[in-house]
């Protein structure tokens, strides 16, 4: 598996070729090279996957080159190949490839075509660096690298102000998270003397320091980075704005891959998180709160992509909820299924936007199903999967998260499990509702646009075909990690959990517990509740937007205040603006004008002025007349002689 670095090299080559020669090549060549580079990555990951199976699923750490080497500090270009990184690499490269293909259609008319694919290739390289890295610092390279690509791609249409501002916001907010992450990294090094995951894990597990403050601090600081990157409360604000980027970018970076990096990191560091219940509970609570918070905002948004953005934030919350409960493999499983259905939803929404000439307001859509049947099906499959309609991918993964919450009893707050479960169930209700609200508003209700002016059309094949692949994934991806209940019924064993568990700490205790009969009853119970909730959400959307179409306007008036709060996203952006951004700007200006130029430079200039003033006093002596100076000299000489003479006389 020493060749695993090739998975990163291929997209980098694509970047170089498209970056240097892209403008002199045909669009077809640019798109093909970029897509092939990613296909190469996928192939490498796939070969590594089979080699890994052949090798008896033994994790391997490959050190390619030293990077920063100052003994005892050793940071190298090292890659870790195990179940977790392989699952991530496969998912990332596969989804990336499909989105690259989709992009060749979606971006076909854009001026920045080569630039777009160069950035996209760089992104994949960085994302693979992130997931394959065998140490925290190299992971941080990928971590920041994907952030950079996100910045570049959000601001891809830099000529308009909004994308450019959104890109800036994303980068800065992410950096705030990275600030915490870096501190966590420093703590790790000074506590354990290494950055490598394998050595770190050994140290952590051999030297039992569970519950110690330093470990909790490390876990929390690292989680701070995850909050930024994975858009959790309170640093989620950049993600909805990131929708200003091209839609395939939203699908790839801001739904399927980059934003899940935080979840991946927590899972990768699970050996550390498992040592600290406080941090775990924080992770779970932040996740659960973000899940319901974002879902509630998504209920009333009108922008087709914003709904999906808040939905992503909410689903990431689910993943952290799972990770915080110790069910790391379920977090990764949900990450995996989510990559398919959320990418599908975004790409389908991209097809919609493409088909209605860039319109994104759902209030100006409606009835599009008959114009774009493929896209309708894509969107429907994605929505059903995310809503937890039984037997689709999202159903299995989300169901297991809820079950994990239902059965967990965190030591420091035993009732947390139940609380988190309730939050999760309500979020599931919200999810089903806003997804089907979207289906109705976009595809099924009467058209609310001028049919004479806009002639919606189906997307080209290059956009439809990748979506079908994703749709297949959204339906079947769940069957590799079935919960015990369904695994028994369908006699399909859960292969996902054992595959990734080697890399995770204490993984699977939730599912193992489910073998008991009592647990099985619990599982039937929670599963039934999940199904009911999903159907209720669906039904509610059906009732409000189909049966009694138009009633929502009355509801808006009846609940004006809460509606306005939700529509304005709880005024969080306004709050940040008023408390941090504006005062910060004023402070900087005051510092620059009053303190720097006023006080500090003022003192310097005052000193200079005083010396200058003294000079003014002595200035008249310098008359410029040579004879005056001669007189001074002569007089001085005489005076000196007299003084000497007096002095000698006194002696």
């Amino acid at each position: 598996m020493d060749y695993i670095y090739l998975a990163i090299v291929f997209p980098l080559l694509g970047l170089l070729v498209n970056g240097f020669f892209g403008r002199r090549m045909t669009r077809r060549a640019v798109g093909t090279i970029a897509s092939l580079a990613i296909l190469g990555s996928f192939a490498v990951s796939l070969v590594a996957f089979f080699d890994y199976l052949d090798a008896g699923e033994a994790a391997r750490s490959i050190i390619l080159l030293p990077w920063i080497s100052l003994p005892p500090l050793e940071i190298s270009y090292g890659f870790l190949v195990d179940g977790l990184s392989l699952v991530m690499a496969l998912a990332v490269s596969l989804v990336s490839f499909l989105i690259h293909v989709y992009s060749t259609g979606y971006m076909a008319d854009d001026d920045g075509y080569p630039r777009y694919f160069a950035y996209l290739n760089l992104f994949v390289a960085m994302m693979l660096t992130l997931v394959l890295a065998d140490n925290l610092v190299l992971m941080f390279v990928g971590w920041e690298g994907v952030g950079l690509c996100s910045y570049l791609l959000i601001g891809f249409w830099y000529k308009r102000a909004a994308p450019s501002v959104a890109g800036l916001k994303a980068f800065v907010v992410n950096r705030i998270g990275d600030f915490a992450f870096l501190i966590g990294v420093f703590l790790v090094f000074w506590l354990y003397g290494t950055f490598r995951f394998t050595e770190l894990r050994q140290s952590v597990e051999t030297v039992a320091l569970a519950g110690h403050l330093p470990i909790t601090l490390i876990a929390l600081f690292l989680f701070g980075g995850a909050i930024g990157k994975s858009a959790q409360f309170p640093l989620y604000v950049w993600l909805p704005d990131a929708m200003e980027g091209p839609t395939p970018v939203s699908a790839l970076i801001h739904a399927a891959t980059m934003v899940t990096a935080g979840v991946y990191m927590v899972s990768r560091m699970s050996f550390l998180y498992s040592m600290t219940e406080v941090a775990m509970l924080v992770v779970a609570c932040v996740g659960a709160f973000t899940a319901i918070f974002a879902a509630s905002i998504a209920l009333v948004q009108n922008d087709i992509k914003r709904v999906l953005a808040y939905s992503t934030v909410s689903q990431l919350g689910y993943m952290f909820l799972a990770a915080g409960l110790g069910a790391y493999w379920i977090a990764i499983f949900h990450l995996f299924t989510h990559a398919f259905f959320k990418a599908l939803l975004f790409l389908a929404s991209g097809s919609v936007i493409h088909g209605v000439r860039g319109e994104m307001d759902m209030r100006k859509m409606g009835g599009l199903a008959k114009y774009m049947p493929h896209t309708y099906w894509h969107f429907l499959i994605g929505a059903m999967s995310i809503s937890g309609i039984p037997l689709l991918a999202g159903f299995f993964s989300k169901d297991q998260i809820l079950f994990a919450a239902f059965t967990s009893r965190p030591g420091i707050w035993p009732h947390a499990g139940m609380v988190l479960w309730v939050v999760g169930v309500v979020t599931a209700l919200f999810t089903a509702f806003y997804m089907f609200r979207q289906i109705y508003l976009v595809f099924l209700t009467k058209p609310r646009f001028d049919t004479d002016e806009i002639h919606p059309h189906e997307a080209p094949a290059s956009m439809i075909v990748p979506n079908w692949f994703l749709a297949v994934g959204s339906v079947f991806a769940g069957y590799i990690g079935l919960p015990a209940l369904f695994a028994g019924i369908l006699s399909l064993p859960n292969v996902f959990q054992p595959f990734v568990s080697g890399a995770l700490a204490g993984a699977g205790h939730v599912a193992e517990a489910a073998h008991g009969a009592q647990e099985l009853i619990k599982e039937v119970l929670t599963t039934s509740i999940s199904v009911v909730v999903a159907l209720v959400g669906l039904g509610l959307a059906f009732y409000l937007y189909q049966v009694r179409y138009g009633v929502t306007e009355k509801l808006k008036k009846a609940f004006a205040a809460p509606y306005r709060v939700l529509l304005n996203k709880y005024y969080v952006d306004e709050f940040y603006n008023a408390t941090f951004v504006q005062p910060g700007r004023v402070m900087c200006e005051q510092l620059s004008r009053a303190v720097d130029l006023g006080i500090i430079d003022g003192i310097v200039n005052a000193v200079a002025f005083v010396i200058g003033a003294l000079g003014q006093i002595l200035r008249p002596i310098q008359t410029g007349f040579v004879r005056n100076y001669a007189w001074y000299i002569g007089g001085g000489a005489v005076l000196l002689v007299i003084l000497l003479w007096l002095g000698l006389g006194a002696k």
């Binding site: 080159l65 990077w67 920063i68 080497s69 100052l70 003994p71 005892p72 500090l73 050793e74 610092v137 941080f140 971590w143 920041e144 690298g145 950079l148 910045y151 830099y158 000529k159 308009r160 450019s164 501002v165 890109g167 800036l168 980068f171 800065v172 950096r175 705030i176 990275d178 600030f179 870096l182 501190i183 420093f186 703590l187 000074w190 506590l191 354990y192 003397g193 140290s203 051999t206 030297v207 320091l209 569970a210 519950g211 110690h212 403050l213 330093p214 219940e277 406080v278 420091i412 910060g584 700007r585 402070m587 900087c588 510092l591 620059s592 720097d596 500090i600 430079d601 310097v604 200079a608």
Partner: protein, 533 residues
């Protein structure tokens, strides 16, 4: 080739590096001022040859742990001054940076400077002479001579070829630095007198470092050196000369100022303050670190309010050099911070030098430094956009580019020395992103509305010629810093080890493979076991 290497290995390389630009300058004085073309190219080739020769420092695979290429000749035996020069891992890259940036800044001036070219190129070569001398001098008298010699050409460069308030800026620059130098001169004389009292009247650094002054004396000497170096770095609150000098200087002047003159301060600290006054350095460390953190945060905040392109980049140096200072004074049982500071000096030279060059490119075309005058340049100048993007990201400290390597090591070391200050300094990376990206957005993004901007030409071959090497260097140091760190580490280790040995009486280096518990015992000596588990 081997013969050449062999020949060069035996040549007095450092003297050649120092005096070749001087010889070039003297030859130019003999040329007719009208032959500007010849003068330009002659100056350029002299500097290129100097750079080429300086590369032979690396040949032969010396370790640079101790001073190598040492040359010592008696100069003024009556007062114990000798021409004593040498290079080790700390100064090696600064010397190479000097010889690299000299041709770069000469090349960047070809079309920007249109008056009194002859004098201009003479002064640039003199800068190269004095800077190289400063970084290799091992005799305090010689060091001081070179240190002050740098001022003269820079004063004239700003004063004659500068813009706007150039006289004000140049005067301020010189007076400010001279005040610091004055105290340093006093301290150098003090050291001489002290050496004399031991019966060995000398300014020789090597001798002085093995005959340290008693701690009370060290404190005074340290303060005097501190003032001189802190002004040069510049450390808050001695930084106000910098913004004016950088802003008004011609492009090449800003480049040399930011890339090399500021390094004289950092280099002075690590070479002279740490080695000659270890006890004073260690006891001053918390204060200096605090000032460094203030510089980082304050510099970044002030940057965020700037509307002048060059002033913003100039002030960003306050923040960036704050990191260097933080690293130099983060004393713990490791030299990571100091190694990071040393590499960061090189990084800052390359990156900020490139940023000034880039500002110079558009300034030459538009003759304005107001950020608001630009906007939408990404569409008009795509090459320029790409180079600027990479340079800016290096300045922000993005991993895989050079800035990260230095900042990461510095913060790692600083965090070890003082977690609170290290943590605060880490916040500087957030602020750097804010002010640089905001500026970037204003200059490059948006619709290009100004008709004058729409006519802007992209980078030409000459501009690419001096920018691309710098960009490659950013990538090289960022991706594979091993050769750089490998040369720096032993020399810095020597310095830091001796500081720690003298100042604390013991030295405990963190060894590789140390068990977590052992380290934990150091970090958390009073942590009760059990906890809330």
């Amino acid at each position: 080739m081997d013969v050449l290497v062999q020949m060069m290995a035996n040549a007095p390389l450092l003297s050649i590096i120092i005096f070749l630009p001087l010889a070039g300058a003297i030859i130019i004085t003999l040329m007719s001022p009208a032959r500007t073309h010849t003068i330009k190219w002659f100056a350029f080739w002299v500097s290129v040859v100097t750079f080429g020769i300086s590369l032979f420092l690396l040949a032969g695979g010396g370790s640079f742990e101790h001073f190598s290429h040492v040359e010592q000749y008696t100069w003024l035996p009556q007062i114990g001054v000798s021409y004593h020069i040498g290079v080790d891992g700390i100064s090696l890259w600064l010397v190479l940076l000097t010889t690299l940036l000299l041709p770069v800044s000469i090349l960047s001036s070809f079309s920007a400077i249109t008056k009194r070219e002859k004098e201009y190129y003479i002064l640039l070569l003199l800068m190269g002479f004095a800077l190289a001398g400063t970084f290799v001098a091992l005799d305090l008298f010689l060091f001081f001579l070179f240190w002050e010699a740098v001022l003269i050409p820079m004063y004239l460069l700003i004063g004659i070829w500068g813009s706007g308030r150039r006289i004000y800026a140049a005067t301020k620059f010189v007076l400010y630095t001279v005040v610091g130098s004055f105290f340093m001169l006093l301290a150098i004389i003090g050291l001489y007198v002290y050496a004399d009292s031991l019966g060995h009247a000398t300014f020789d650094f090597i001798w002085l470092r093995s005959h340290l002054a008693p701690p009370e004396l060290q404190t005074w000497f340290f303060l005097a050196f501190f003032l001189a170096f802190a002004i040069k770095v510049p450390l808050f609150p001695f930084h106000t000369w910098l913004a004016d000098a950088h802003t008004e200087a011609p492009t090449a002047g800003s480049v040399l100022l930011a890339a090399l003159l500021l390094k004289m301060g950092g280099y002075g600290f690590i070479r002279f303050c740490l080695t000659l006054f270890p006890e004073a350095s260690v006891s001053a460390a918390p204060w200096v670190m605090a000032l460094a953190v203030i510089s980082i945060i304050y510099g970044a905040l002030v940057c965020a309010a700037q509307t002048d392109f060059k002033r913003l980049i100039a002030l960003s140096s306050v923040a960036h050099m704050g990191f260097v200072m933080l690293g130099i004074f983060s004393f713990a049982n490791t030299s990571i911070g100091q190694v990071g500071a040393t590499i960061q000096m090189v990084n800052h030279g390359v990156t900020t030098g490139a940023l000034f060059l880039l500002v110079g490119v558009v300034y030459e075309r538009r003759h304005t430094r107001e950020i608001a005058q630009y906007g939408g340049l990404a569409a008009v100048m795509p090459q320029y956009y790409n180079v600027f993007l990479i340079t800016m990201l290096a300045s922000v400290g993005l991993p895989a580019l050079n800035g990260f390597v230095g900042e990461f090591l510095i913060l790692l070391g600083a965090f070890r020395a003082d977690w609170a200050l290290g943590g605060l300094a880490t916040f500087g990376v957030v602020l750097a992103a804010i002010y640089l990206l905001t500026m970037f957005r204003k200059v490059f993004h948006g619709e290009c509305t100004n008709p004058e901007n729409r006519k802007l030409l992209d980078l030409n071959a000459r501009e690419l010629g001096y920018l691309v090497p710098l960009v490659l260097l950013m990538l090289w140091i960022g991706l594979y810093p091993k050769p750089y760190l490998g040369a720096i580490k032993p020399a810095v280790d020597n310095t830091v080890k001796s500081v720690m040995r003298i100042a604390t009486g013991s030295i405990s280096y963190a060894r590789s493979g140390e068990k977590a518990a052992a380290v934990l015992a150091q970090v958390q000596p009073a942590e009760p076991t059990g906890g809330d588990a």
